[in-house]
């Protein structure tokens, strides 16, 4: 398994797309932090990067990589290696290299320029978001053998989580505004990894505003140590579940 991970990591790190991804992240984060005298604006741009670009690149790149390495996987399967080992090797290798790209690209300027609390939180959520969307990509790649369809599913899922979900919540909120929906909203938001990541960062970034209304509900849930642990466990669960389902399917798949 270790050898598979090593091979995948080396293969991806040599990949031009990942190099460009790292470079773009780096240029973007260094420039926004050094151009803006007020670091809040830079953080806002990076927040959008973490919530939109990181998941998009992760999900599409991972899906395409999966399809492209179909032959490599077939080759591995002809060897006496368990399918679980191959799949987890691929997943760990790909996640490690994407997280590495994120840390090198965006993590270093974040740690240098952003206040410690926000910086670490953004770094943590960024890494988890990468992992989550790679897991989602693995799932969509095993759902269909058609490459175009697989990429389509990935993009649709990204679209849903990154853009549509919040719109849906906003709509629901307007519809049910007469009812005490605060707790329900916390619950529904926690179901989307990107909303969860956004709220976690928001609690650090807009702390003054979040302390306002939210005193009772959000802060009690997300702001406490238990809330933080729950949120991060949920994010980790979001990595494990899609991966687990993709593994189940991969094990039974007829290649």
């Amino acid at each position: 398994m270790n050898r598979i991970i090593k091979f995948v990591i080396l293969d991806i790190l040599k990949n031009r797309i990942v190099l460009i991804y790292t470079l773009i992240l780096a240029v973007l984060s260094w420039s926004i932090f050094s151009l803006e005298d007020n670091s809040t604006k830079g953080l806002l741009t990076l927040l959008n990067v973490i919530l939109l670009i990181v998941p998009l690149v992760s999900v599409i790149f991972a899906t395409i990589y999966q399809y492209n390495s179909a032959e490599f996987i077939e080759l591995l399967l002809s060897q006496p290696i368990r399918r679980k080992k191959i799949w987890s090797g691929l997943f760990v290798g790909m996640t490690t290299s994407m997280i590495l790209a994120f840390i090198i690209g965006a993590g270093i300027p974040l740690l240098i320029y952003a206040p410690a609390g926000i910086g670490l939180m953004m770094l943590g959520t960024g890494c988890l978001v990468s992992a989550i969307f790679i897991a989602i990509a693995f799932l969509s790649a095993v759902l269909t053998r058609d490459k175009a369809k697989g990429i389509g599913i990935s993009i649709m899922l990204w679209l849903f989580f990154a853009l549509l979900y919040d719109g849906l919540i906003l709509f629901l909120m307007f519809q049910f505004s007469d009812y005490p929906i605060e707790k329900a909203m916390v619950g529904i938001s926690a179901l989307n990894p990107l909303s969860l990541a956004r709220i976690l960062i928001l609690l650090r970034l807009d702390v003054s505003a979040m302390m306002g209304y939210t005193g009772a509900i959000f802060k009690d849930f997300f702001g406490t140590t238990t809330g933080l642990l729950i949120s991060f466990s949920l994010l980790i669960l979001w990595t494990i579940l899609p991966y687990y389902f993709s593994l189940l399917r991969f094990k039974r798949m007829d290649l």
Partner: protein, 411 residues
């Protein structure tokens, strides 16, 4: 010679007046302060030396100067009002007053002034009292350099630090107040000044101001108070160069203005509050040259405010600069610096060529559906905000700064 002449004159006066000094302490013939006051005549000085004095309620009913040496401790044993000043021209300086009683009807204080004129209360340390200093029906009093600390946890179980009622021409200078219900409380107090005080970590308001006209407060620091600072039902209030910071929570405001008319807010800093200023029913107020930084809401202006002018302020790094609850706008917002402004300045006159709409649609939404805050900074909301900025449909389009500044003002 210049210095000694007035001293000599003073000395002469005191000689002619026959004023004497009575020492109180373990090593002196007089051991109790009350006894010394009984012996003294108006104009005398009572010097109290270090030690602990448990004399129940100490009544000062003559015009005396009471000086504490090495902060003698007056202990109310949690039963009594410690010091009651019932004469004019009393100086009470350099004591430690602690453990006043607790009663909800008589409100025992560490130091109470009743119907006094020209009272000076200075350089005292007040520890763990129900009310700190209470001034009632008094004039020309000076409250200076006192450190007032209590350890209240519940609003109804602790009194105010400096409580002023129906008084005139007070000077509250350089006091440090924490842990009380309201740091400084003003009701029916006029022509007074509150200067260079620090009110922090009080349970309710740092400064609470009711029906008090023509007062000024300047260069004070109000931080981490339960509900910030409230100024209500007053007119002609001047607020200069104060700092309002880290007042956090729902319905907690850096500065709450309710029914305030013809007042002036200048040069203050509102830093990291949930809401910097909350204005409700205020008229003809000028808000200028203030800094609003890192607040959840810079200003919340209710639609019932009229003829207020907000000009030459810096809005920096607030989550929302301004919010309101209606569509009626009867106030002007010109020539402020907004860090969210994205316009351009072709003629380089430091005034942006495109008007700025400081009201974001999302702040209006949050005003009516507070849970929406959970969606803040999501793509949908940002999209909504951007489109609203370009074409205001839901927010009042006359809520506008027609001359937004390109650079922050040096304040």
């Amino acid at each position: 010679m210049k210095i000694t002449t007035p001293l000599l004159i003073l000395l002469h006066f005191s000689l002619f007046a026959g004023a004497k000094t009575i020492h109180v302490g373990d090593t002196y013939p007089v051991r109790r302060i009350q006894a010394a006051i009984r012996q003294a005549a108006a104009g005398d000085t009572v010097v109290v030396h270090g030690g602990i004095y448990r004399e129940g309620n100490l009544v000062i009913d003559k015009s005396l100067v009471l000086l504490g040496m090495n902060h003698p401790v007056l202990d109310g044993q949690k039963k009594f009002e410690v010091v009651s000043i019932k004469a004019d021209h009393v100086v009470f300086d350099g004591f430690t007053v602690q453990h006043s009683g607790y009663a909800t009807l008589s409100d025992p204080c560490a130091i109470r002034v009743h119907h006094g004129n020209g009272i000076t209360i200075s350089n005292n340390i007040l520890e763990d009292n129900f009310f700190g200093i209470s001034i009632q029906f008094s004039k020309n009093c000076l409250i200076k350099n006192n450190r007032i600390r209590a350890y209240g946890t519940l609003e109804q179980e602790i009194g105010n630090g400096i409580h002023c009622w129906k008084s005139d021409s007070l000077q509250i200078i350089a006091n440090n107040i924490s842990g009380h219900r309201d740091g400084i409380y003003f009701e029916f107090v006029s022509h007074s000044v509150i200067w260079r005080n620090v009110a922090s970590d009080n349970i309710r308001y740092g400064l609470h101001f009711m029906f008090s006209n023509d007062d000024a407060y300047m260069v004070n620091i109000f931080s981490r108070n339960g509900a910030g600072v409230a100024v209500m039902f007053s007119k002609g209030v001047k607020m200069f160069s104060n700092v309002f910071e880290e007042n956090w929570g729902d319905s907690v405001y850096g500065l709450l203005l309710k029914e305030i008319n013809d007042s002036y807010i200048q040069g203050n800093r509102f830093i990291n509050n949930t809401s910097g200023i909350y204005m409700d029913g205020t008229n003809r107020i000028t808000v200028e040259k203030n800094i609003f930084g890192g607040n959840g809401w810079g200003m919340k202006i209710q639609a019932n405010c009229t003829d207020n002018t907000v000009t030459h302020n810096n809005f920096l790094g607030n989550t929302f600069d301004i919010s309101t609850n209606g569509t009626l706008v009867l106030n002007t917002f010109n020539e402020n610096y907004w860090d969210k402004y994205e316009g351009y300045d072709l003629d380089k006159n430091n005034i942006g060529d495109v008007p700025f709409h400081p009201l974001s649609i999302f702040s209006v939404i949050v005003e009516s559906y507070p849970p929406a805050m959970l969606l803040f900074r999501s793509f949908m909301v940002t999209l909504l905000d951007k489109s609203e900025k370009i074409m205001p449909t839901l927010t009042p389009d006359n809520f506008v700064d027609n001359m937004p500044l390109m650079r922050a003002i040096d304040l």
